[in-house]
């Protein structure tokens, strides 16, 4: 057991898998001696060698293309893209190859790979370093998109993602890389994919979120509790495929729902959750579903960043609107 923050939990999960599965390799830019720009791979190259912890040329298309090739040979490539802002050239390979290799060969070849990237705003980073564009990947068939919101979930979900037989995009909310520490037992125990985690139980309203925004959402729930309002908080964790069962069961109980995400609103994953609540949960909704999200704007440079990011106050105000409705 050791007190571990989120980025250290990523490191521990990577180390565990490298140690226990000889077919796991890591590849990315500056992940070797430098240990990655956020130190997620710190010390791994010296322990597991240059051939398995691979410093690649500066070429994102190559990195993910290689992962597809490696995976077709049964090697589980865990790719680090340095920032999500540099992930877009990988989309061709993800949508044209990684996600469809199993399908187009009827299972002859598969693509067990993980595409890791730090994402999200709130750290006053330079341009192209703060976006939340998870919905781009969630729209792809044949993929999983997993986002941890705590050290424990980062450890367990990353292990599960590496062991998953299909491609996983694993997005790490960098704002909370070092926010909190949790005790992690380094025993290589994975957490389940494709399910939400209910972080706090409540009867009056359901707050649904993922990634760094889970923390603002939990703070909002705490404030609501002070007003004797009991909020259920759900961390979606796997945003594709979506565990609507858990969300619907909660909203059936509470009748009210606020969805919180950092990404732009239109066609954000919140849109899909709201649509499914309308399709399958209309009869038990007591108020319109509320969305608290980033705006449909370009992520502003950092002076205006805090205006873009959803705040605890916004979540509270949306919750109150839902609670006061009829």
């Amino acid at each position: 057991m050791s007190e571990t923050n989120l980025v250290e939990a990523v490191n521990k999960a990577l180390a565990w898998e490298l140690d226990h599965d000889k077919d796991v390799v890591l590849l990315g830019e500056d992940i070797g001696l430098n240990g990655g720009v956020f130190r997620a791979t710190d010390g791994l190259q010296s322990k597991f060698g240059e051939q398995r912890v691979i410093d690649t040329p500066l070429a994102e298309t190559l990195i993910v293309g290689m992962a597809v090739g490696l995976a077709s040979q049964g090697i589980r490539a865990v790719v680090e893209i340095q920032f999500m802002g540099f992930i877009y050239s990988t989309i061709d390979n993800m949508i044209s190859h990684a996600t469809r290799m199993r399908n187009r060969t009827r299972g002859r070849l598969t693509c067990p790979m993980v595409l890791r990237a730090p994402y999200g705003g709130g750290i006053h980073a330079p341009e192209h370093h703060s976006e939340s564009t998870e919905a781009i990947f969630a729209h792809m068939p044949g993929i999983r998109v997993v986002i941890p919101s705590s050290p424990l979930r980062a450890y367990g979900l990353l292990l599960a993602s590496i062991r998953d037989p299909d491609p996983v995009v694993f997005l790490e909310p960098k704002r909370i890389y070092r926010l909190q520490k949790e005790s992690i037992e380094e025993a290589g125990v994975a957490l389940p994919l494709d399910v939400c985690f209910t972080l706090r139980e409540g009867d009056d309203i359901t707050l649904v979120s993922w990634g760094a925004m889970v923390h603002e959402t939990l703070q909002a729930a705490e404030k609501l509790a002070e007003q004797n309002i009991s909020a259920e908080v759900i961390d979606v964790a796997t945003i594709k495929p979506l565990d609507m069962k858990t969300i619907l069961a909660s909203v059936e109980k509470t009748g009210r729902c606020v969805i919180v995400h950092e990404a732009a609103r239109t066609c954000g994953v919140g849109s899909e959750i709201a649509a499914q609540l309308a399709e399958f949960g209309l009869t038990f909704l007591l108020a319109p579903v509320q969305r608290v999200s980033g705006y449909d704007t370009i992520m502003p440079l950092y002076r205006l960043e805090n205006y873009y990011m959803p705040s605890v106050e916004q979540i509270l105000s949306a919750a109150n609107a839902a609670l006061e409705y009829a």
Binding site: G65, G69, S89, D92, N103, R104, T110, D166, L242
Partner: protein
């Protein structure tokens, strides 16, 4: 100007277009049996190709990309590769795919709109054909990396067209293959046309091969319609890579005698007379001349090979035409190893749709 004129990319031709040999053959290509085998597979590929076009024209096959005139490259490659080497082909590489045991019925099944055509019975580690141009160059680097990591004496071969050499993926792949000295061979089928764009508008470089030089990768050109020269160069490159010599690139110069695909009309951008003039360089007729003039085979045996190829194609077409369509829910069945619960209702939905249409 002219400072890079000394790039010095070697060019090989053994058999000229009149069927005259100008170089000394290796033991392999001195053996009539191997040359007849080259001829046989080129012929099979061409008969298959013509049949596929006919099937498309009569509504029995979807859009199809012909390999007419470029058969020598694939046949030579098929002979130079080992069975456990891995191929990353594009859509025009039937000759090498047939050489590697991939069934004509599967190739037809693919163009006939059925994913099972990519579930090959042999060469099961070969990638399925790559449609988005040049993307498989980076997959090839990954596969070659796996071979090197596992210390396997295997070679990765990636085929691309002339247009692919304009793409960033190609340069990223070459660059990385050079850094890690991977056992990967890049073959360019330079057939002069990327749909409607001619070679001289594709790149200002004198050769496409020289693009490898920037990545410190050894490169040559070869007459892509000369199956003997193709085999000799490919064999040497592949065996060099197998024994740790690192990556190479071979630009095989050929000509696309057909339209780009059956959906294309090449007369919009090139004259039939220009295409007609290219038939004198046909890879099959020059080998035929060489085989006959050297009495490696007689006309009667050649006729028999033609009939044999036609018979094989007919049998394979029958298998293709008799393959029942997959049930509609097949679109879900290889999406993930296990279909996530969230998708189950969509699978049920398409099954209901299928029942309605029965």
């Amino acid at each position: 100007m002219g400072v890079y004129d000394n790039l010095n990319i070697p060019y090989s031709q053994y058999l000229d277009h009149h069927g005259q040999l100008h170089e000394t053959c290796s033991d392999y290509t001195s053996d009539a049996k191997n040359l007849i085998n080259f001829y046989k597979i080129m012929l099979r590929t061409r008969v298959f190709d013509q049949k596929a076009i006919n099937l498309q024209r009569t509504g029995k096959l979807g859009t199809y990309a012909s390999s007419l005139g470029q058969e020598a490259i694939g046949v030579a490659l098929g002979a130079a590769m080992h069975a456990n080497d891995v191929l990353a082909p594009t859509y025009r590489d039937y000759a090498v795919q047939l050489s590697r045991g991939i069934k004509m019925s599967d190739l037809l099944l693919y163009w006939g709109g059925d994913e099972r055509g990519m579930d090959y019975e042999f060469s099961r580690e070969d990638l399925p054909i790559c449609v988005p141009i040049a993307t498989h160059t980076c997959h090839a680097v990954g596969i070659a990396y796996a071979m090197k990591l596992r210390k396997q004496p295997r070679v990765m071969v990636c085929i691309i067209g002339d247009g692919a050499t304009s793409k960033g993926d190609f340069y990223e792949a070459l660059n990385a293959a050079g850094v890690w000295q991977l056992p990967v061979i890049f073959i360019i089928n330079n057939n002069q046309w990327a749909i409607s764009l001619p070679r001289d508008k594709q790149s200002a470089t004198k050769t496409l091969a020289q693009k490898a030089v920037a990545a410190e990768i050894y490169a040559e050109q070869v007459d892509g319609n000369d199956v003997i020269a193709c085999y000799e160069r490919m064999h040497e490159f592949i065996e060099r890579a197998r024994t740790g010599g690192g990556p190479c690139l071979l630009e095989a110069i050929s000509y696309r005698l057909s339209d780009h695909t059956t959906a294309d009309d090449a007369q919009r951008y090139r004259s039939p007379a220009d295409v007609e003039a290219q038939w004198q360089f046909d890879p099959i007729s020059r080998l035929k001349t060489y085989l006959l003039e050297n009495q490696f085979i007689d006309a009667e045996a050649l006729d028999a090979l033609q009939k044999q190829a036609e018979q094989e194609v007919e049998e394979q077409v029958k298998i293709y035409l008799n393959t029942a369509t997959q049930p509609p829910e097949a679109m879900f069945d290889y999406l993930y190893e296990t279909l996530p619960e969230a998708l189950q209702s969509q699978r049920d939905e398409v099954m209901r749709k299928g029942k309605k249409h029965e």
